[in-house]
Every structure is written in structure tokens, then in C-alpha cells.
Homo-oligomer: 418 residues x 2
């Protein structure tokens, strides 16, 4: 079997139009759950699934799955599934998510074109809100599919404006029924852009992930006293932004020290910071921050959380601010499954496409799925390692090569004649 | 003459309803140019001017003036004018601005009640957008009234959304004609809350300002590289927020050093900071900051601007970010006029109300007006020195005492029998 590179590219480029943003360099999009852009991306995907003859199902939290049950397959056999997500970060790139969704669909179309006869049905999946911009810390749809969160809990999640996930899904026409159950799958594959430079540096087109880092999101709030920037002497201030600036630098320093000390895969980031009231002539009264901590080593993640807490305690003592700290999202590191990884390496070898092992510094829905069934995560090379940015780029040839490896692995585990 | 404390309070409390915000402690409002709240506040003020028999004029940039021309006055004589502004910072207090506007009106009503017969007309004024939240760095309406900015320049100013001042004024029905000309006034008075604690500490109800600090607003932009917070190793980042955090602390440190060194009235604040894309799981790619620098000493202001520039140059070298720096707003320190100040001290003495000299750390429209006519600025005590905050508070008795001093000074310079 071979994949149709042009067909895969056409789908990714069509999807890139939804939520497209104007940028000087690269191609960007903003696709947040409940927006018109998200509705358009979902509707286009459903049409492509139907065009390929798949049976489409929308579950209660908006996960979309298309099932191919060829005549050769036992319709009651556990399916092999593959996919990713269609949402993006604000001002993100065009490959992060859509590549995996459309490579999964292309895998099925390639099997159909090659008249392969799998024993098992194949599911092509797009999970709701992987990026976690609005309703949860990330991996929302897959958390329901693996039973880590109930449908009711998920639907009741609210964004910053108090809109529930349920009403966001209803507004798009994507609040379906029931629950996609990942534990019923025989195996799961996800193809994603690498988001770092190891494949480019090694000149290898496909990566097979050994383990995905754990991920913790923390919310830290720092409260000072809003006051007039002109009339308040320097020694009479409790400036929440000055305190928050020390916090940002403490988080960065702690991560650098852990990297230098005992775990060179650790990262710590303050990615979000909102100032109130945020006017040039007012001493900031409150700052809210969002912290992201990750590693393949859970001990070093906990160490970074502790250092962030200690930074806040110090700022309370030294600057008189009040602070709050929460850890609303936490996932331990996840090793991938040998059987699924081997199927990917074997498929690469059969196709004459080189593969290599690496770990994933980014979280993916596969991190959840690996807890309930055999799972593998494949990477395609990222130009300059850039992602979550309009400059994110993967060459179309690399997209096709990685899709071909994933298609071969899916066909293998679905019992298709090679 | 005496002022009617209840009438003054009723006006300030009625005005406090426009743009009112819900807060646990204090009384807050958000009144930005062009909003419904701003329109309501302006319409209420116009009605109160008309109720007192004043002739109302709206100029092309939305400045509102009511003129009282009693039979005793030469209608062609240069008027004595007084007033302040009705706009607020986001989540500001109820006295900053409205106290001066309604104390000016109350001064006229008190003169009417006492059958005083001034030789000159008296203007009661509210200037457009003193706080500078949207269309300029501050003191917008008064900048046109003194000729520092033309009507055309002012009307073409745009807010962050690209709305012009002209369309904001038109949407409220407050885009009038002509230009209020402050140079035609014989003298100008403004009453304002002190916004620091010197009057409270001295237990004196009225302050007479000797000089207003200069004020500089700078915009600094720091550009790094937006990237995935999980997949980008610590040593491969150009984090715009980490760089901006150093900048915030550098500005604070520079101000503290100038205070300790040669000018203890200097202040430096980063009050505004916006992160892009501002998502927990994305390394920040760009940060925009707004810096406020003030002192009664212009040299120390320039020193702080230089230190901010040097901080950015260091961050370019050490962190590889790109930076931009602008100084879009700059006013040198302004001494007040002896003649107008003396009228205020004299009025206090006649009324048996203690007054004291102090400087103003906050900018006020009077800073502009002092460039074209004799001007004085009076302060009423601020509880705990807090302003630009719903906890801003001035006791009603202090409001009335300060209004009485201002009314006496206006009557004096307008040539009324005492």
C-alpha cells in the first residue's frame, strides 16, 4: 500500500483555512472549541469521513469517530484506531493535530485503494480540545474516552466567560450521544509533528516515541494593592507585577537548575500572565499566571512544583503580597507499548523508510489512551523545531512518509494482508 | 458663602452609578471614553449645569463647559474657570475626577445661593479622557484646550481596536463644535483627591499644590519566539516573558536607586503588560509593556528613561530578544501660579479651614492649563492614600471643606463681594 501525498496535503490545506490568521511569515490558525472555525473544521472532517465510506459517530463530548468495517472484517472485533485533534492554540500552526487526523483517514483510504482486507474495523478519530485552551488543562476529549473524567463532569466544565463545554458543543451542533470508549480498541496510533529538532538533526523522517513526558499545570495568583502610579511613593507599594516577575524568573531558574543537575529533559514555563487592572498609570493590584511543568521523570516535576511554591512563600515574606497556588492538571509520564511501537518500526522497514526512537516532550491524547490499550505515537520532523506558532512547518514529503509508516502499522495490527 | 454638602454628595453619588462595578469592598466604576457609562455621566452633568442656569457648550473633542454669566459680570471679561474630568481608569474609584467637576459646579451654586456678584463669568468644566486609557497617554481634552494638540489630531487618535476618538464621541452624542480655549481664562482651579497620605498624616483637610510632577509614558515591546512549552528544551528558548520580567524588575530597581540617591519624589512603574499568545502551554513570543515615570525633577525622569533603555539593550545581548522602545507621552514638571495658590490659602483662612502646601505626584489637566493661564490645584485627603481602586475614599466632610475653599478662591478672583 501507499498513501496519496496530494490527497493528504489537500485535506490539511483545506483544514488550514478554518480560523486562518494573517501573518507575515508561515501559516497560522486559531481554532478554539465552540468557535465558527472549530465548527467548520469538524464539518469538513465529517464530510471527508463520509466520502471515504466511513460510519460517523459524534459522542456526547464532541469526539468524532469514523469507522471503516470492510467485508473482510469481523464487525465485532476490537478495532484498531488512529487519529489526533483539530483544535489549536491561539495563533498556532496548521500541522499540530490535523496531520494526525488526516494521516489516519489517509491510512484507511490507502488500504481501500490497495484492496487490503483487514480482519478488524478501523476507527479514524478526532478528539475534542486537546490543547486545553478553554475548558480543561488539555486532553479533554481523550480524558472522557478513557474514563478519567465522566461525560457529565466534562460537559459542566466552564471557560473563563462561564460558558460550559456543553453549550459550546451545542452551539456548533457537535453535542452527540454516548461515549467513545478507547478501552474497546485493540490498539491506537497517533501521528504528530515532533515540535523539536531531533528528527531534523538526525535526518530521519519518522520518530517512534518511547515515552511521553508527564505534564503539570499550576495556577498561581499574586495579590498586591492597585494604586496610583504617580501618587504612590516607591516604598509604599505592593506591586503584584513586580512580585510576579520574580516568580517568572524563579520558575525559569529552577528548571535550568534541574536540567543542569539531574534531569536534562525537564522544562518549566510561565506561558500565561494576566495583569489587573493593566493600565500604564496604575500600580498592578493582581496578577494571574499559568505554569507548565514537564519531564519524563515524575520526581523532577514534583521538585519544580515545590520550587514554585517556595518562590511564592518567599514573595509573601519579602514583598507583602498574598498568593494562591493550585495544581489543577497533572499527568504522570507515560511509556508507549512495545507491540504498537514494533508495528511502526516494522512498517518503516517494509516501506524502506528510516525510523528512530525518541521521547515526547509534548503531551498528546495518546498519553491518556496508553492507560487503557496498546498505543504508539509517531513523529514527523518539525522545521527548526517550531510549533504552537504560524512558523510551524513539516515538509509534505515527510507528512506522507510518516503517514505511510502509520498506515502500514495499522494494517499490520488490523490483520490485513501486506 | 457656604457650600451645600448634601447637594455635592448627591451629585457625586449619582455619578458613581455610571459604570458601577461590583466589588467586595469600597465603591468602584469603569468609565472609559465612548462607553455607555461615559455617555450617562456626561448627560447627567449637562443636566445639572442646566439646572443651575449655566449655558452649556460641548467642543469638538467632547470637552463640556457650563458658563455662569450673572448680571453683575461683564460678559466679555476673561472667565474664572474650574473643573476636572468624569472618566476613570478601569476599576477606579468614585472621587477621582468627579469631585473636582461637581465641586466646581457646587462653587457656582453656592455663590448663587449667597447672592454673590462676581465681575467675571465663571466656567465649570469637564475635560475629555484625563486618564488616558484609550486614545492618548492622558490629559487629552486639556491638551486641545491649551493648543498642545489640534482638534484634528485629537479626533484622529485611535484606541487599540482602531476606533477613532471622533467616532467614540459621535457614538455618545458628544462630538460638538469649536475648541474650548483655556488661554482665554483669567484663572483656573481644580480640586482633586490627593491620592497619597500626606493630608491624612498631617490631619489637614485641604492641600494647595506647589508643583505637579512631570510624567513620561514609555511603550516597550519585547519579542522572543513563541514555541511549544513541552517540546522546547530550556536552552533552546527565547522566552519574551522571562525577558520582560527582568525589565519590570530593572525599572523598579532603577526607581528605588534614584529615590535613594538624588530625588526622593521619583517613581517608576510597569503598570501594563500583555503577553502573546498568553497560553499556559506556549513559551511567550511577545510581551508589550507600558511604563510610567514621574518626578518633580525632569533630570531624574530622563535618568529613569535611560535606565529602561539600557535594560532592554542588555536583554537583547543576554537573551537574544528583539526590543522596541517609544516615549509617546512626556510632560515636564509644572509649578503652580502664586496668585491662584494665594487665593486658595486666603479662602481657607477666611473660612477657618486649614490648608497646607504639598506637591502632586499625579498628573492632572491643571498641568496643561498652567502653561497658558494662572492655575492652582487643590487636594482633598485620601483615606490610606489609595486611588485608582474601588477602595479610594474621601470623607464627605472633607469634600465639602475643600469645595468651600475652592469656591472662596474662585469668588475672590472673579471679583465677587465676599
Amino acid at each position: 500500500m501507499n498513501v496519496d501525498s496530494d490527497r493528504l496535503r489537500a485535506d490539511i490545506e483545506a483544514n488550514a483555512e478554518f480560523g486562518k490568521i494573517d501573518v507575515a511569515e508561515g501559516r497560522g490558525r486559531t481554532v478554539l472549541t465552540g468557535t465558527d472555525a472549530n465548527r467548520q473544521a469538524r464539518e469538513y472532517f465529517v464530510e471527508r469521513l463520509k466520502d471515504a465510506g466511513l460510519d460517523v459517530r459524534i459522542d456526547a463530548v464532541g469526539n468524532v469517530a469514523g469507522r471503516w468495517t470492510p467485508e473482510s472484517a469481523d464487525p465485532d472485533a476490537a478495532p484498531v484506531a488512529a487519529g489526533s485533534h483539530l483544535d489549536s492554540v491561539p495563533e498556532g500552526g496548521i500541522f499540530d493535530g490535523p496531520l494526525g487526523v488526516y494521516a489516519a483517514l489517509e491510512s484507511v483510504r490507502a488500504m481501500q485503494d490497495a484492496d487490503l482486507e483487514p480482519d478488524r474495523p478501523i476507527d479514524v478519530v478526532s478528539f475534542t480540545e486537546e490543547e486545553g485552551q478553554q475548558f480543561a488543562g488539555g486532553l479533554l476529549g481523550s480524558s472522557v474516552a478513557v474514563g478519567d473524567r465522566t461525560v457529565e463532569e466534562a460537559l459542566a466544565l466552564e471557560d473563563d466567560d462561564g460558558t460550559t463545554l456543553e453549550s459550546a458543543l451545542e452551539s456548533m451542533g457537535f453535542r452527540g450521544e454516548g461515549r467513545l470508549d478507547a478501552s474497546e480498541w485493540d490498539a491506537w496510533f497517533e501521528l504528530h509533528v515532533e515540535q523539536s529538532e531531533r528528527l531534523v538533526d538526525a535526518d530521519v523522517p519518522v520518530g517512534v516515541v518511547t515515552a511521553i513526558t508527564g505534564i503539570t499545570h499550576c495556577d498561581a495568583v499574586i495579590r498586591g494593592e492597585a494604586d496610583h502610579a504617580g501618587a504612590t511613593p516607591m516604598d509604599d507599594r505592593t506591586d503584584a507585577l513586580a512580585a510576579a516577575s520574580e516568580f517568572v524568573l524563579d520558575v525559569e531558574r529552577a528548571a535550568n537548575e534541574v536540567v543542569a543537575g539531574f534531569s536534562d529533559t525537564a522544562v518549566g514555563t510561565v506561558g500565561k500572565l494576566n495583569v489587573r487592572p493593566n493600565a500604564t498609570n496604575v500600580v498592578p493590584g493582581q496578577v494571574e499566571t499559568g505554569v507548565d511543568i514537564r519531564d519524563v521523570n515524575y520526581d523532577s516535576m514534583n521538585e519544580l512544583v515545590q520550587r514554585a511554591r517556595r518562590s511564592l512563600a518567599r514573595l509573601e515574606r519579602e514583598r507583602g503580597v498574598e498568593t494562591e497556588f493550585k495544581r489543577p492538571f497533572d499527568l504522570e509520564p507515560s511509556p508507549m507499548t512495545d507491540r504498537a511501537r514494533k508495528a511502526a518500526h516494522d512498517a518503516g522497514e517494509r516501506a524502506g523508510i528510516e525510523t528512530m526512537d525518541l521521547h515526547s516532550g509534548a503531551a498528546h491524547d495518546t498519553q491518556r489512551i496508553a492507560g487503557v490499550t496498546d498505543a504508539a505515537l509517531l513523529f514527523a520532523p518539525s522545521k527548526d523545531g517550531i510549533s504552537h506558532n504560524p512558523k510551524e512547518w513539516t515538509d509534505w514529503d515527510d507528512c506522507a512518509a510518516a503517514a505511510r509508516v502509520m498506515g502500514g502499522a495499522i494494517a499490520d495490527l488490523a490483520g490485513a494482508e501486506r
